[in-house]
Assembly symmetry: C2
Homo-oligomer: 342 residues x 2
DNA sequence: ATGAAAGCGCTAACAT
DNA sequence: ATGTTAGCGCTTTCAT
């Protein structure tokens, strides 16, 4: 009981370890950190004592020395929204494995809160900061000439000397388009979110690009509306009116696609038999709850987070910092809504 | 420019402040912390110098002294799932306002990872730990006799000497039941999640209890199944078969309720005209996307997180630590699916 | 009312 | 090969 790793009593310091091993405190430090030259036997004795006493170095003291703090800050502007969460998860994943701790803050889109949090993070000597968001639109950076590297994930800094990691919305749109063409559909409509969203415009551009190469156009033109199921329901009716023979609909989000699916069913069109359907986001509860389950584009948000974290670790380790915008490829998840022969 | 709060140059220490104010370093410390006795003029001079230089105390150094670290750990077993996120948000909210930083870790339900993270948090001298989860089932605590207070939110520790904050599932069920009775329905069915979930059993108990007091029983018995829309669709058919005259259906989740709503529509029952519908979770995308929008029970997860954080702050501040299980009242959100006269 | 000094736990020069 | 010493930035006695 008394030699368990975490005794309730006083903290065991390196001084205790040194005493127990019969060496000086400096020697103990070197032994434990694997630096300096010393007899193997001594090193072993110190290590053994440390283990026996359950010694755990105090990171505060280590950090104070000007050494590393093994901490990074994670700022979300999104109240842990649907998009920033997978990103954070990926980041935590990559960082946790690297023994880095994560200080979390939520700015709730308030620049004042953000400024405040950045300062707190710097006070705590984080070694880097990851900023996540919910939209891909450029935003002001969190500060110039910060003493630590910063990376933007699922959001873009206006400052081109920052690195921003974004999903490849255009590529995702292209992916959907090629998939639909491959299943033999050529009359392809598009119902998506507000024109004010770059994500919506880029997904549409990806679709149009591929169709254009094939000498085709978007059936019934691109329909912009809310990011909601309700708009999906309305949009589907509009599209069916504009082009009753539409063979496939690519939607800007899974929510929109669900609404579209409902209207199609109510209008007597079978999915995918009459009309194939592709969503965007691969948001499991939506995509799987849809009838039929939805083929959809996955932005690989977790990968974006992991890349952001790894970038940070790289820069911290001294690598040159990449800058500008980098795009992470999307991935198509095929389900019933486009399956052939149904 | 050069007197901005965050200069890129060397960090300004209290030593610099003292020098600038023409006092000793100890005096500067006392002045800034508002302790000790000294001339008001001196204190003002130090404060002014600190502000002018942009002095920010180093929390590492402060913590090292055995003082406070103003940090708490937030452990989620849930990979930031749908339930733990609102809890975390609430906690971050309450803590951030109190100038406390949050160290985040995700255990991914792995006890080894959990143990590891707990130790890392303790190494970093967090002043307390919040454990969040996705299920209300009791789980082993993260450790006995930890040197800091621990509170469980949206998950329960097996150890009764811990404090666990849970949603009031039974109360939520009762809330739904009373609301349906108040709208004049007496034949009330219940379609919910697996019997293995305490949450499902308690919500059912809440419903049955209220119905029992009114001399009623659950119409067609409680139907247990998956937490999915698909089950909602199936369950609705089963219920309609068992009791074709059912007037209302209370569902164990919003997802189930959506499935139920779909089947009802396809079977020609109007909601809420023929059958009223109540969900559980108040998960916006589901509840609002439903046709019609869903009346549902909100567990006040954010409040659970806030309470957890405040409890922790209280214990840290020296208050006696409450123990055992404490339940947070749920709240009914009324929407179209039960609105009268539709 | 102010200053000097010790020390939190640790590491990294510099001595031996 | 090991020990000694000087700090990291701060707070807190204890002198003055």
């Amino acid at each position: 009981m008394s030699n368990s790793t975490q005794d309730a009593g006083r903290t065991v310091t390196i001084r205790d370890v040194a005493a127990a091993a019969g060496v000086s405190i400096g020697t103990a430090s070197k032994a434990l950190n694997g630096v300096g030259r010393m007899r193997e036997e001594t090193r072993a004795r110190v290590t053994a004592a440390a283990r026996r006493l359950g010694f755990r170095p105090n990171p505060l003291a280590q950090g104070l020395l000007g050494g590393r703090t093994y901490t990074v800050g994670l700022i979300t502007c999104d109240s842990f929204g649907r998009f920033s969460i997978p990103v954070m998860l990926g980041a935590e994943d990559a960082l946790g494995d690297g023994q880095i701790s994560v200080l979390l803050c939520d700015t709730r889109d308030d620049p004042l809160r953000e400024r405040h949090h950045v300062e707190r993070l710097l006070d705590r000597r984080v070694e880097g900061i990851i900023v996540t968001g919910r939209r891909t639109e450029p935003r002001p950076g969190i500060g110039r000439d910060l003493p630590v590297p910063v990376v933007y994930a699922m959001t873009q800094s206006l400052d081109p000397s920052d690195l921003s990691l974004l999903p490849d919305d255009e590529g995702g749109g292209a992916l959907a388009a090629r998939h639909l063409l491959a299943t033999g559909r050529t009359r392809i409509g598009h119902i998506t979110g507000p024109h004010g969203f770059r994500a919506a415009r880029q997904r549409a551009a990806g679709l149009s690009g591929v169709l254009g190469e094939a000498g085709l156009r978007v059936a019934g033109d691109v329909l912009h509306g809310e990011w909601s199921e309700e708009w999906g329901r309305q949009g589907a009716d509009i599209l069916l009116q504009a082009d009753p023979d539409v063979e496939a609909i690519f939607c800007g989000s899974d929510q929109i696609a669900r609404g579209v699916a409902e209207t199609l069913r109510e209008r007597g069109r079978r999915v995918p038999g009459d009309v194939a359907l592709v969503g965007f986001d691969n948001w499991a509860p939506m995509a799987l709850g849809c009838r039929p389950p939805l083929t959809t584009v996955d932005m690989n948000l977790g990968e974006i987070g992991r890349l952001a974290a790894r970038h940070l670790l790289g820069v911290i380790a001294g690598q040159a910092g990449e800058t500008g915008v980098r795009t992470v490829p999307a991935r198509l998840v095929v389900r019933e809504s486009t399956r052939l022969g149904t």
